[in-house]
Amino acid sequence: MKRPGTAWPAWLRWCAPLLLGVLILLGWQWLVHALELPVYLLPAPSEIWRAGADAWPLLLQSAWHTLRLAMIAFSLAVAGGVLIAVAFSQSRVLEAALYPYAVVLQVTPVVAIAPLILIWVGVDNAATAVVLLAWIVAFFPILSNMTLGLRSVDPGLRSLFRLYGGSRWQELRLLRLPASLPFLLSAMKVSAGLSLVGVVVAEFVAGSGTSPGLAWRIIEAGNRLQTARMFAALLLLASIGIALFAMLAMLERRLLARWHDSAR
């Protein structure tokens, strides 16, 4: 029996979910054939693979478009969230005045704001509208966590800065920003996924036949009852989300491994 507290071997942590995935795929394949389900209702994994392979260049092009918009929204969310959080840390009045509006922006469903944004930026600028909508979704976790991180500073260290007459700029640069790094990296993992979700949702709402993103490929395939292609696009979308999360988790481990409990 495994003793409590004993670490799992690394290979098992990778192999267990992979093995489960293979078992689910095999079960799925068997179920579709055994029940003779029509392909438009639930395609077998082999059908999805075939549909994906057939539409690969188109799907890849669409995935790149969606990823590019998501990354622009994500970068703007990180930059905006950090800058506004820093401004909040320097002025409680500013924080008290602006934070409620940031919350309002966060809790209002992006689907409901989309038509308004489209009117403002113009239907011809669908990509700008999509980025703006994805930014609204992805920005709040950065702002919220970064604000918390900038405040979560050891009071003893703050006393030390006061003792030696440290300026606000020195306190921000040498103390508050490094102390908030774990909070920022954690928020970035959430925000990257949300920016992808935001782009897809915005593409659904703002997209048209001219939109080349993955969301439109899913709508298009749905309208034509090409369910296997829909699944292929969905899988591609999920893979992008997982890859983003994994890259940011790796960055987090790399930056925090030596000094922060969460990464050791």
């Binding site: 006393s159 800065f161 030696y164 040498l174 102390a179 000094w259």
Partner: protein
């Protein structure tokens, strides 16, 4: 040691934000070269008193007159090492000099000397997480000493350490105090530590904190195991314990 006061507190009082009186009518002089220890029951305002001495808090009444008010003339060690976990030992020790805007060459020289003073010369590149509790506290002491302060304030710095490490740290601190000729004020719960280290012990009452007794320890320095094991040490410690157990008594030994 001379009679010139580095720090003088005159009829100090301090209230907490709720209005509760934390310190009441405290007058004390810390003379150059002294090692003064403040002992008292938990919550009596020892740390508040130290913050007032450091200028980190202001009194509600009375005066704090300090000759060590320029940044860098006063060093402070807190209950926890309070190190920046992302920064190396050298960067942590260098922090006060960076805040004071000293040139890079001077910073490197002072950091090297401070790390030598606390026997951590080989750990300049280590991160705090890679050190033991005692070593982290030595880094905090090096950081407090790096500016060459006249006055060193310490708030129960060894409370979290095991007995053996604590004894070693006491001896190391005493050697540094003796060699550098600085003035030290230490807040502690440990009468043992107070008697071993100090030239003078101030005893505080329960809240509102007042200084109810003052004991001079005349044992010569350097002090070590013979002093710790002596009958005189035990008698002084017992006398301090009796004073602590008798509240609201003003006495001078």
């Amino acid at each position: 040691m001379n009679d010139h006061p580095v720090l003088a507190l005159q009829q100090i009082s301090r209230r907490f934000s709720g209005g509760l009186l934390a310190l009441d009518d405290i007058s004390v002089e810390i003379r150059e070269g002294e090692f003064v220890t403040v002992v008292g029951p938990s919550g009596c305002g020892k740390s508040t008193l130290l913050n007032l001495m450091a200028g980190l808090a202001l009194p509600d009444g009375g005066l704090v007159i300090s000759q060590a008010r320029s940044p860098g003339e006063l060093g402070m060690v807190f209950q926890e090492p309070t190190l920046m976990p992302w920064a190396s030992v050298a960067d942590n020790v260098a922090l006060p000099l960076r805040l004071l805007g000293r040139p890079a060459g001077e910073i490197a020289r002072c950091v090297e000397r401070a790390l030598l003073d606390v026997d951590l010369a080989g750990f300049a590149a280590s991160l705090p997480a890679e050190l033991s509790g005692g070593m982290r506290m030595r880094v905090a002491i090096a950081r407090a000493l790096v500016t060459g302060p006249r006055l060193l304030l310490m708030d129960e710095p060894f409370a979290a350490l095991d007995e053996l490490t604590r004894e070693q740290m006491n001896e190391q601190l005493l050697a540094l105090w003796h060699r550098l000729g600085i003035t030290c004020v230490l807040v502690t719960h440990s009468l043992y530590e107070a008697v071993f280290l100090s030239t003078r012990v101030l005893i505080m009452s329960t809240r509102p904190g007042r200084i109810i007794a003052e004991t001079r320890i005349d044992e010569a320095y350097p002090r070590g195991a013979p002093w710790r094991d002596s009958a005189s040490f035990a008698a002084t410690r017992a006398q301090l314990a009796r004073t602590l157990r008798t509240p609201d008594r003003t006495a001078t030994a």
